[in-house]
């Protein structure tokens, strides 16, 4: 079997499966072999499920032989971020407090994934409870960036981005609360997409900040992410914030929508201190759209800078509430040292949570506490409204916005762990989108002189993912950056 199978896209593999050039079993075996050969360096995987994956691949090949495939992703391996639960498997959220937690049920996204014929392949690393931008807060291991093993892969879905970039899987499911899909996708040179809030069910997604969290796809090309989103999205009565109206069929729409589009450039996303190589790459991408007939319009998102305080107030407030369920009583780590009930809470949580999680719980408890609620939490919710209005106003003129995904390329391990505020500030280009509930994706648009990937963020309109994918796909067709691979 061809050795380069592991770097093919789902779109390519689908054809190879269709014309029987390869089988799903061969494909899954190649993912397993590639993972074994590279994961001592990358450390993306927390758990693997070789036997189950091969068994599912065999069933996929059987369906295909009988002319009964379930969809375009039938037989394609997809890794799962450790916070999307799968029945009978560990779901540890990269946290000690959930070290032995085995999920008794499947997340809706997993049910949908299985119904599409795709094959869950392993559980991948993340920042603990998705709190971080570098995957360094994982209790279990630090994942490396496949482009430079001394650097972080981004976060919180760093495992998802790294395993797709390293060829260990074809696709991955991650989650994005403030950029946790798009930023690692940018730093690892792959495609990552956050759908409109409510599009993908959050049932079985271990909650961080419920008004911001969304599950979304990672892939090596735009069309693959569209197919994966199509497979997992849809109304779910088990999620009270699930969107019940029509959502577009994204993969089908890509070839039908050819532009030209009106594209907005928010000047707030090109500050003076932006990394010069990132500025050059993103401006070149904008020029590329212009050269293909798109109208480029400068727009304003005046409240952009306020997103950092708004996000870190709202996200930590919601997190402090969501994480109160880890009490050491019902299903999580219970401290051996504890004497009475209250003591169980304090000690189990103190032992079970890592430093960044504790810091955010403290911050969230503070902004919600008596005497501070109005000044912080309520005010942040009001400014959040202004941030959404910024986007709504900008989209009166344009079909999408083009921005850098991250203000810097991948940084070295330990570079920002001592200073949480600096880490928080690096989320400035991604968090606004979550606060507003809009969809956005990141795709590769170049490399730095140090051979590190640069991501272009395309922000679309709510429930118009079809346009968003088509706009991103048109760039991908006109450029070869997405074909670049790290040397491992």
């Amino acid at each position: 079997m061809s050795e380069d199978l592991y770097y093919k896209t789902a779109t390519e593999l689908r054809r190879l499966l269709e014309n029987r050039t390869i089988s799903a079993v061969e494909l899954v075996q190649s993912a397993i072999a590639r993972t074994k050969a590279t994961d001592d360096k990358v450390r993306a995987y927390l758990d693997t499920n070789e036997d189950e994956a091969i068994e599912l691949a065999r069933a996929s090949d059987e369906r295909r032989a009988n002319g009964k495939i379930l969809g375009p992703l039938d037989g394609i391996p997809v890794s799962i971020k450790d916070l999307i639960v799968e029945k009978g498997k560990l779901a540890r959220c990269s946290s000690r407090i959930l070290e032995n937690f085995v999920s008794p049920y499947d997340a809706t996204a997993i049910v949908n994934l299985r119904n599409s014929g795709a094959i869950p392949w392993g559980r991948v690393n993340m920042d603990e409870f998705a709190m971080g931008s570098s995957t360094e807060t994982s209790y279990f291991q630090k994942t490396a960036n496949p482009w430079d093993l001394e650097r972080i892969p981004g976060g919180s879905s760093g495992g998802s981005a790294a395993c797709v970039a390293a060829g260990q899987t074809v696709l991955s499911l991650g989650s994005d609360t403030g950029g946790s899909i798009r930023q690692p996708a940018a730093l690892c040179g792959v495609v990552g997409m956050k759908p409109t809030y409510g599009t993908v069910s959050r049932y079985g997604l271990i909650a961080f900040a419920s008004s911001l969290d969304q599950i979304g796809p990672f892939s090596r090309c735009v069309e693959d992410s569209a197919m994966l989103l199509d497979a997992i999205s849809g109304y779910d009565p088990l999620d009270s914030t699930s969107y019940s109206g029509d959502i577009p069929n994204c993969a089908q729409a890509i070839p039908e929508k050819k532009g030209p589009w009106k594209l907005g450039i928010p000047k707030e996303y090109f500050p003076d201190n932006l990394d010069p190589e990132i500025r050059t790459a993103v401006e070149a991408a904008v020029d590329n759209y212009r050269a293909r007939g798109c109208e480029i319009i400068e727009v304003e998102l005046p409240h952009t800078e306020l997103a950092i305080p708004v996000y870190y107030i709202i996200a930590t407030a919601e997190a402090s509430s969501n994480l109160s369920r880890y009490d050491g009583i019902r299903y999580t780590h219970r401290s051996e040292e504890s004497t009475d009930a209250l003591d169980i809470y304090f000690k189990s949580r103190g032992e079970g949570f890592g430093e960044e999680v504790k810091r955010r719980i403290c911050l969230g408890s503070f902004v919600l506490s008596s005497g501070y609620y109005d000044a912080y939490y309520l005010r942040a919710q009001k400014v959040r409204n202004l941030i959404r209005k910024d986007f709504q106003n900008a989209f009166k003129q344009v079909d999408a916005l083009l921005t850098p995904t991250s203000p810097t390329p991948a940084f070295k391990f330990g570079e920002r762990t001592e200073d949480p505020l600096t880490m928080y500030l690096s989320d400035i280009f991604t968090i606004n989108v979550n606060l507003a509930g809009f969809p956005a994706l990141s795709l590769p648009c170049g490399l730095t002189s140090g051979n590190l990937p640069i991501g272009l963020q395309v922000i679309g309109q709510p429930l118009k993912e079809d346009d968003l994918f088509a706009i991103a796909h048109s760039y991908e067709q006109a450029n070869d950056y997405w074909k670049l691979r790290p040397t491992l």
Partner: protein, 98 residues
């Protein structure tokens, strides 16, 4: 907004039912002070006419049909319990002897 430096880390950790080491308390107090100072930016704009936004889109109460449906068995529900006996969670005594 109040003075950012007056975050009482003991009070907050107690609210959160979170045991912190003395080193963590000291480190967090400084770091959270810096973070709250950054939050002062929010004071810069007038929000007196703005509605608070709790969700990206209007969210209304969603009610399920009042019908019995399959659910987890006691064994499944307790599979992750740190201590259990007779299909129940074991916890320390929470009431005093009479």
């Amino acid at each position: 907004m109040s003075d950012a430096s007056n975050i009482d880390i003991d009070y907050v950790a107690n609210l959160a039912r979170l045991q912190l080491t003395p080193e963590e308390k000291q480190r967090f107090a400084g770091q959270l002070g810096d973070i709250l100072e950054h939050f002062e930016k929010l004071k810069s704009i007038d929000v007196s006419n703005e509605e608070p936004m709790a969700h990206p889109f209007p969210v209304f109460n969603v009610l399920g049909a009042d019908e019995a449906s399959p659910t987890l068995s006691p064994e499944q529900a307790l599979v992750n319990a740190p201590k259990q006996r007779d299909q129940q969670l074991v916890v320390p005594k929470v009431v005093d002897d009479a």
